[in-house]
């Protein structure tokens, strides 16, 4: 008797025990097991959603009390949002100006690191040259380090660039340079992982047709790696958008250059005396929602990229 036949026979007699076999899709679970598993799943879902619901109801709370009164508090209002958009901290700068700085920082570091990285990643993935493995090892060694460890040298070295009143360290450009110093190795490694999965046959065929290396890169590899470029660019954008360590240490004094992360630090950081939780919640939502939504849309590509890299 073949295996499917056995399974079929079993199903007729023991609806329950064969429910575990994997080949038959969509066969109903026994109801009791279904209900138990549903209860577990719902419990997990609630535990995941609890912090989000808490923050949303805090943000809608009109009383600015420290705890929301119910999921949608009575007299729910968007006043907290209006207030943090006008001026989230005691510093005279609006949410939009903060967001503008963060956006500028995020787009520049993402664009620069992806542009530089894709060419380098192509060379690491396809070309043979001296010191290739040494250089790749150097990049991996840097990846292992958290960005915090390069604060000291960058703080000192960027601070040495002074032209008149302009000090590179105390500018968004300086923060951008510091971010790129850690982001570029990551972008190279991430893109190389993706380029390694593109079959070489395509370029070989192009070479037979008379294409040069540059043409193969431009006309074959680049179009094929658009998803990876988008993901790497997006991760770079998130890195710039939420950048904390460098901004807080470097951008001292000039309120005009402050970013969203600095404002968040002003609200809940160690020097914040009284945390305005309702305003904080509204601010956190405005801060996180744009990147979270894009992340949600791209998550399939982002996660597969990370696991490709991880398994190697």
């Amino acid at each position: 008797m073949t295996q499917p036949a056995i399974a079929e026979t079993r199903r007729r007699f023991w609806g329950r025990s064969t429910a575990r076999t994997r080949q038959d899709k969509g066969r109903p679970l026994p109801l009791r097991k279904q209900l138990v598993l549903q209860a577990v799943c719902i419990f997990i879902a609630l535990s995941v959603l609890l912090p989000l619901l808490w923050v949303f109801s805090l943000a809608l709370d009109p009383t600015d009390r420290l705890r929301p009164a119910g999921l949608i508090p009575s007299g729910a209002t968007l006043d907290n949002f209006a207030e943090v958009i006008r001026q989230p901290t005691i510093n005279p700068i609006s949410f939009f100006d903060l967001a503008k700085n963060s956006f500028l920082l995020a787009t520049s570091v993402a664009a620069i690191s992806v542009l530089l990285a894709v060419a380098a990643a192509y060379a690491f993935s396809r070309l043979h040259f001296r010191f290739r493995s040494v250089l790749m090892l150097g990049i991996l060694a840097v990846l292992m380090l958290p960005p915090v460890v390069s604060i000291v040298p960058l703080y000192i070295q960027l601070g040495q660039f002074e032209v008149g009143d302009f000090n590179l360290r105390q500018s968004l450009a300086g923060v951008g340079i510091a971010i790129i110093s850690g982001l570029l190795p990551f972008a190279i490694w991430n893109l190389k992982g993706y380029l390694d999965t593109i079959p070489k046959d395509l370029e070989e065929a192009a070479a037979v047709d008379g294409a040069t290396r540059n043409q193969a890169f431009r006309l074959i590899i680049l179009p094929l790696s658009v998803p990876a470029l988008a993901v790497t660019g997006f991760l770079g954008f998130v890195a710039g958008w939420t950048e904390y360590y460098y901004s807080v240490i470097f951008l001292t004094g000039d309120v005009e250059q402050y970013t969203l992360a600095i404002a968040l630090n002003g609200m809940v950081g160690q020097f914040a005396t009284q945390t305005p939780w309702a305003a904080f919640s509204a601010f956190a939502i405005l801060f996180a929602l744009p990147v979270s939504l894009v992340y949600l849309l791209l998550q399939k590509y982002i996660i597969s990229g990370l696991t490709i890299g991880g398994v190697k």
Partner: protein, 343 residues
């Protein structure tokens, strides 16, 4: 092929391996822009860092004065900074280097174990055939992955607030059902000095951090485990069932061996990420109580931000480099040693 329509360029005829002729010059053209940038802003700073770790480098050494434009020259002090770190002689209250190092390792290890257990458990749960709403659950469970860590950390700081946080509020609500007065749940999660379990030397703040990081960490593990689970051929389970294997036996002898190759590299990655996890500790506990939840990364940040001890912070970073290098190499050996275990 799109390239075929391009004008025929002059190339040497295809060779056996190097189809595009000599690579070297093209390779350098591709790599030099990124390399120049990294040499300037990534590698040179790290070399500079190692250099100043041997100097008594402080704030006056970087502030320009009329007498010393660009800062006063720093004194060379050899390994003094390194010795002061490992002998806890920095004059920083509650700074104990080795206690911090052990706590950091334990922190990463305990988190990764929990992440993997829950991650695999949920992946198996959602892989149950015929379970209703699997798509919806998968969509909900991915949420922690997509929220920026800085927001996760600050929100959990709020959740564990003593007087008004969600955790104490929920406990008070639950307690009211059993007529326990609300004052019993004014728990100072993040700063309580007394250990909650007398024979386990871990502060309450550790458990609060663990809770937050469990929320943050298991979903990605679950995604990785799901990918591995779906590659297991269903026939294996059927064959095992015919041999009368129990549910646990199937899990032990089929599921686990198949998950292993995917999960172990991911666990290593998770360990390094958790080891260096800055935001939760920094925003939730700030190292409290008495520096017992401080991690190496948060301490490194504090040495610069709070104390401006640049030379010491540089030496500290060099220590971190070697610690991380050791961990990575160690894991590499372990992973390789177990790679052929039963696959």
């Amino acid at each position: 092929m799109t390239a075929a329509s391009a004008p025929a360029p002059e190339t040497s005829p295809p060779k056996r391996r190097r189809i595009f002729g000599r690579d070297t010059r093209t390779a350098y053209l591709y790599i030099i822009p990124a390399l120049l940038v990294m040499a300037t802003i990534t590698f040179y700073p790290l070399v500079f860092q190692t250099a100043i770790s041997f100097f008594d480098y402080r704030l006056p050494n970087i502030i320009s004065t009329p007498a010393f434009p660009g800062g006063r020259p720093a004194d060379f002090i050899g390994f003094e900074n390194y010795l002061r770190i490992i002998n806890d002689q920095l004059g920083i209250p509650n700074f104990h280097f080795f206690r911090m190092l052990f706590f950091n390792i334990f922190w990463a290890f305990s988190n990764v174990v929990i992440h993997i257990i829950i991650g695999v458990g949920v992946a198996v749960l959602l892989n149950t055939r015929g379970l209703w709403g699997r798509g919806i659950y998968r969509a909900i469970y991915i949420i922690p992955v997509v929220i920026p860590p800085i927001i996760v950390a600050t929100v959990w700081r709020n959740m564990f607030d003593t007087s008004d946080g969600a955790i104490n509020q929920s406990l008070t609500g639950l307690g009211a059902l059993f007529h326990i007065p609300g004052e019993a749940f004014q728990i100072d999660w993040l700063r309580q000095i007394q250990d909650p379990i007398s024979f386990i030397p871990l502060p309450l703040a550790y458990f609060a951090l663990l809770t937050a990081n469990t929320w943050l960490g298991w979903p990605l593990n679950s995604v990785v485990a799901t990918g591995a689970l779906q590659s297991i051929p269903g026939e294996l389970y059927e064959a095992a069932e015919m041999d009368g294997a129990s549910g646990w036996q199937k899990f032990r002898h089929i599921t686990i061996p198949f998950l292993r190759p995917a999960m172990i590299p991911y666990a290593v990655y998770g360990f390094v990420v958790t080891f260096n996890l800055f935001y939760l500790t920094y925003f939730m506990t700030a190292g409290e109580p008495r520096g017992r939840t401080e991690l190496l990364v948060t301490q490194a940040f504090r040495l610069v931000n709070d104390r401006q001890l640049f030379g010491v912070a540089a030496a500290f970073s060099v220590f971190m480099f070697f610690i991380l290098l050791t961990i990575t190499l160690l894991f590499n050996r372990v992973t390789k040693a177990t790679a052929s275990y039963d696959t």
